[in-house]
């Protein structure tokens, strides 16, 4: 499963919040194009792990190498690395003062100096892809949660990232809106995007994941392919977790 050059390589990471150990000797590697789903009970460190990959959280020891660069090495420009790593949040976090289209074009125009006309054209295509082109001129407050999240995915894609991180992208949504967001994610997965997804959507995990990572109390307890994970979990904790949620 591991080839020589994983696009994300997390090695023996420890992460403390004060004296609380949020990540305990975590190692994980993700190959280009792989889809990894992270599962685990609340407080197990899923979000923390995801957020260390684009350094929204620093780490106390270990290393994280993204696309060949050690992200915690001060010699590497973290802002350039983050351009390669899109992130989608549970609470969408669209820029409230910008229209839908402006949400997408802001970073390409300011950071990549893309000409506005070109950025507009390209981002309208992205909106088309997530089914939001009619709302290009709307503001985030005018959109439903599902619509906001689809725009948020498109916004991350506008920077042409190599990797996409999703932190419970459907957990804040009304049930009837979960499908439209998952559809976009499935499409993205089919196109070959490298994805790390924290979610409670077991259907998505089964269908899309190349591997499932189960975390508990800051540790990775089990890594397995979805069929193996759901049908023949090895660890006691994993079995307990699956019994509780299924």
């Amino acid at each position: 499963m591991n080839n020589a050059n994983p696009i994300i390589s997390i090695n023996n990471v420890q992460k403390y919040f004060g004296t609380f150990k949020a990540l305990d000797d975590v190692s994980l590697s993700v190959d280009a194009g792989q889809k990894v789903v992270v599962l685990g009970p609340s407080g197990s460190g899923k979000s923390t792990l995801l957020r260390t990959i684009n350094k929204l959280e620093g780490i106390n020891s270990g290393s994280i190498v993204v696309d060949g660069q050690d992200i915690n090495d001060p010699a590497n420009d973290i802002n350039r690395i983050r351009e390669e790593v899109g992130m989608v949040f549970q609470s969408f976090n669209l820029f409230r003062h910008k229209s839908v289209l402006e949400n997408l074009t802001l970073a390409p125009i300011k950071l990549k100096k893309e000409p506005k006309e070109q950025a507009d054209r390209r981002c309208l295509e992205l909106l088309e892809k997530v089914g939001m082109v009619e709302k290009a001129a709307s503001y985030p407050v005018q959109l439903s949660g599902g619509q906001q999240q689809r725009v948020a995915i498109a916004r991350a894609l506008a920077m042409k990232p190599k990797i996409m991180l999703f932190d419970e992208p459907t957990s804040a949504l009304d049930p009837e809106m979960i499908g439209e967001v998952l559809d976009v994610m499935v499409t993205l997965a089919r196109e070959g995007m490298t994805m790390v997804v924290v979610t409670h959507e077991m259907g998505f995990a089964r269908e899309v994941a190349d591997k499932v990572v189960f975390m508990d109390e800051g540790r990775i307890v089990e890594i397995a392919e979805p069929n193996q994970f759901f049908d023949q979990p090895v660890h006691k904790r994993t079995k307990l977790f699956l019994e509780q949620i299924l």
Binding site: N93, L111, V141
Partner: protein, 261 residues
């Protein structure tokens, strides 16, 4: 998420009338039309001395506005720096900003004015008006700093995280994402500070700056009509602040519509 409405309360300054108060007899209307009526009455039925007094004041009104606008501009610049300093991770910047705010808040405005005007004016000669503007701006910058800090803090952390995750650095995030949103929360208290500052500029009349109050004092000391002069001075200040607070209320209303569209 949803419509997070944050209101920053700043105690001093005239209250800005609520744009949603649609009653006929609002406090603002009573004060405004009452003031207008009294001024009209005095000018029509007691032209001597009120007409002479009011003719004497316009130069002072201009100076008051000049000092107010120059001081508030300086205060906004200093306030932005102080506010950013107060939330900065840079220890030195943070400490400098906090110390500035601490010191300014601990010394009465009048004493600061005297200090900058007389004590510093003793060392370096600056024009009267400039000294007054520097003193007012310096003092109000500290209050403005707290307003900016609160405004920036009111913006959800998720906005910053989304911006950072796209590749913006911290200062780009501040500039493109946080400040444009914070401005809407900041505007009402900045407006309040503006009105408070306008009133406080009357203090500079002590420093040989010919604002409304100083012009009034000059008139009174020549004519000995103290009661009449200060009545008119008070009415003029009241009229100006009432007009300003109304303008701010309209502006605020515009902005909240903008937010809801």
């Amino acid at each position: 998420m949803g419509n997070k409405q944050v209101i920053i309360e700043v105690g001093d300054g005239a209250a800005i009338p609520s744009p949603r108060d649609k009653g006929l007899f609002t406090a603002w209307r009573i004060s405004f039309f009452g003031t207008l009526a009294i001024i009209a009455y005095l000018l029509l039925f007691r032209p001597d001395p009120y007409l002479d007094i009011i003719k004497f004041l316009p130069d002072g009104i201009v100076v008051t506005f000049q000092v107010t606008i120059a001081s508030i501009s300086l205060a906004i610049v200093l306030g932005l720096i102080a506010g950013l300093g107060r939330i900065s991770r840079n220890r030195l910047f943070n400490l400098a900003a906090s110390t500035y705010i601490e010191i300014v808040r601990g010394i009465p405005l009048l004493v600061q004015l005297f200090y900058i005007y007389f004590a510093l004016g003793h060392l370096i000669r600056v024009p009267d008006m400039l000294a007054a503007i520097i003193a007012m701006g310096f003092c109000y910058g500290a209050y403005m700093g707290e307003v900016f800090r609160a405004g920036i803090k009111s913006i959800d952390e998720g906005q910053t995280e989304a911006s950072l995750s796209l590749g913006f650095n911290r200062s780009q995030t501040m500039r493109y994402v946080v400040l444009p949103q914070a401005w809407r929360t900041i505007l009402p208290p900045v407006g309040n500070e503006f009105i408070a500052l306008l009133k406080d500029t009357s203090l500079v009349s002590i420093l040989a700056v010919s604002d409304i109050l100083r012009r009034g004092r000059e008139f009174a000391s020549e004519s000995f009509q103290y009661f009449e002069t200060y009545t008119m001075v008070a009415l003029i200040y009241l009229l100006i602040t009432l007009i300003l607070s109304k303008l701010l209320s309209i502006l605020e209303d515009r902005l909240s519509h903008y937010e809801q569209r």
